[in-house]
Symmetry: C2
Subunit: 379 residues, 2 copies
């Protein structure tokens, strides 16, 4: 195996597959990255067993400066090899595998020899048919991920809740996540109906990594799903994730369909106030912020308190207030995550009572996106 390649193009590909590579893996060969050189392409693979990423650098793109002298494959120590490539002196580098998997990396006056591993021992990636794949707009997918992944659980006690639950049929696309204290639900109507119906749970960690891989140059991502794997195709890169096993709880009845008190705010304005209130609640043993709503006075007041440090009170100027008087307490960190997910939108917050979950929805297209938060009992 021997090839020459542009250092910039190679570094970009190394960064892409490195997202999947963990130093903490219990399978030693997975701390490495696999290079497979074919006649007109170089394929890089990284994996942590949950996520696998494969990206192809093609010789027919002149920017890649890829010249293959002989085919072959090798596994190289990922972090260390990437550090070397980043520091090489010239614009191109040559990699040649010699005897006993000894690999020579040359660039200008610099010549490294490092110990590689037999690529035959590297795990095979899952085989997934892509002929029933579903096209998704790249920016929409990123938005769906960012809006739902905040509510996945970090606790391994109920593994299924560490993922986002996707259901697709016809033109309906639904994504739901809940850690049992809060819930995020996003609905999208697809342009084209999907072939069949899909119901699967993707790990939140996989979705976060996937989202980081989608940059502004991508218009579209395609999704293929099997019984235990999902495959996202992003240009020349394949992103594999295992699915979570088990049945996701039925969340359809958790969202209240009526309210007794409704307040309306610009999300960023309310976010800034909650952030200030949480400065104090974070200094307290129980991290709680309180909202008091008085519809007669059109007033909404936010309180944060720490016995050691002090307190904060803000008289807010809501866009509107309607319904019953209310005093309700909640975890401000859940509220901050929820408010950030609406970015600049105007939102309604709908309450039924001080002990029942309340919802945040955008005032426009309110059915498409719901954040639900369970309050905290303080009396």
């Amino acid at each position: 195996m021997k090839f020459t390649i542009s250092r910039i193009a190679f570094t970009k590909a190394l960064n892409t597959v490195s997202r999947a590579i963990s130093t903490k893996t219990t399978i030693p060969i997975l701390t490495g990255l696999k290079l497979q050189v074919n006649q007109n392409e170089l394929i890089l693979t990284g994996s942590d067993a949950d996520i696998s990423i494969e990206t192809t650098v093609k010789a027919d793109n002149p920017d890649n400066l890829l010249a293959v002298e002989s085919e072959g494959a090798i596994v190289l120590p990922a972090r260390f090899f990437t550090d070397i490539v980043k520091k090489l002196p010239e614009d191109t580098l040559t990699i040649e595998v010699g005897e006993n998997f000894q690999t020579m990396i040359t660039s200008g006056q610099s010549s490294f020899t490092i110990n590689g591993l037999d690529a035959n021992n590297y795990p095979h990636l899952p085989e997934i048919e892509t002929n029933t794949s579903i096209p998704l707009a790249a920016d929409l997918l990123k938005q769906i991920i960012s809006q739902t992944v905040i509510a996945v659980s970090n606790q391994e006690s109920r593994p299924i809740l560490t993922g986002v639950h996707f259901t697709l049929s016809d033109t309906n696309f639904l994504a739901v996540a809940t850690d049992s204290h809060r819930l995020s639900q996003r609905k999208v109507t697809l342009e084209n109906p999907v072939n069949g119906s899909f119901d699967f749970v993707l790990p939140g960690k996989s979705l976060t990594e996937l989202s980081r891989m989608i940059d502004d140059t991508q218009d579209s991502v395609t999704l293929s799903v099997t019984e235990n794997q999902a495959l996202f195709t992003i240009g020349d890169t394949l992103f594999y994730s295992r699915l979570l096993e088990g049945n996701y709880p039925d969340t359809s009845r958790l969202i209240p369909d009526s309210f007794d008190t409704r307040i309306s705010f610009d999300a960023p304005e309310l976010l800034a106030s909650i952030e200030r209130a949480s400065l104090l609640s974070h200094e307290s043993r129980n991290n709680v912020v309180k909202i008091t709503v008085k519809p007669d006075e059109k007033s909404v007041t936010i309180y944060g308190n720490s016995p050691d440090v002090g307190n904060v009170e803000e008289d807010m100027k809501p866009k509107s207030v309607e319904g019953n008087e209310l005093e309700i307490s909640f975890n401000p960190d859940y509220m901050k995550d929820a408010l950030r997910s609406f970015s600049q939108a105007t939102i309604n917050i709908d309450f039924t009572s001080a002990l029942r979950p309340f919802t945040l929805t955008p005032t426009e297209d309110s059915d498409s996106f719901v954040q639900l938060i369970t309050p905290i009992r303080t009396f």
Copy 2:
């Protein structure tokens, strides 16, 4: 005590004094910052007992929007108070101290009440006469610090070596630091002779903080020294540091005055090669890089090696090579620090033998700056 101030100007002053405030202090009141309001100014003070910083916000600068309603002083929890000020909604804020040191911070609809401490319990800053103070060009002082502070010791076993040794007399300014493995020495000729002579050791940590405080807007810094304190005046800010006690070792005879082998390089080019070689030496138990010099062949070769991972070899193109053949090994991290301190300059590296310290000096004005490194015996 009550005043109103621009949030931007106040935040800048808070950031300045916060440099001196440590959360790890054993003196509880030093986790706070002191505000002293006089008729036309606000004075902020932060201290960790080693370093103290005092900065003044003046009412006569209209940008500060400082309006004093009543004088007084208070100590407030530094980190927490700074977080609040940064997140306030309006461009100005008002601070008012009430009963029992309860302090109200208001800005727009936001109103915080936090528990302050009695300013009478805050330690007094040292009193230092500034009538014999020494003016120093701000950019030169920053350069001297960055060039010497790299060689101070991190080990508390010989406390005096954790500082930089300054000697000033007439127009001579000398700064030396050594951790006994390497040494940095910078000589400067002052424009105006100093009054008397000075010999003192400033902690490396103080100098690093001082350097961060000097920005491009400052032309000049003045230095005043007493028996156990130094005071740097930077515009409206006073920076106090304690001096290290004890006698600094005599370093004048450590620097060799002749050489048997000399090589010459652009510092950045050699730095890049050493960085690559250190990628391998860092993977090895003994962090060593080797240079081989062959004057007959005009060749300089750099080797890095790790039994587990591999090796690297670079045939360098030095600007010149003269003297005896040599093979010498050293800690590449010392070499990297030294090379960085020359920034873009061309340097000479002068060796006597494989076991004797070698020096790096700029080819121009070579007497002004020396980096000395002790080699490592590998045979």
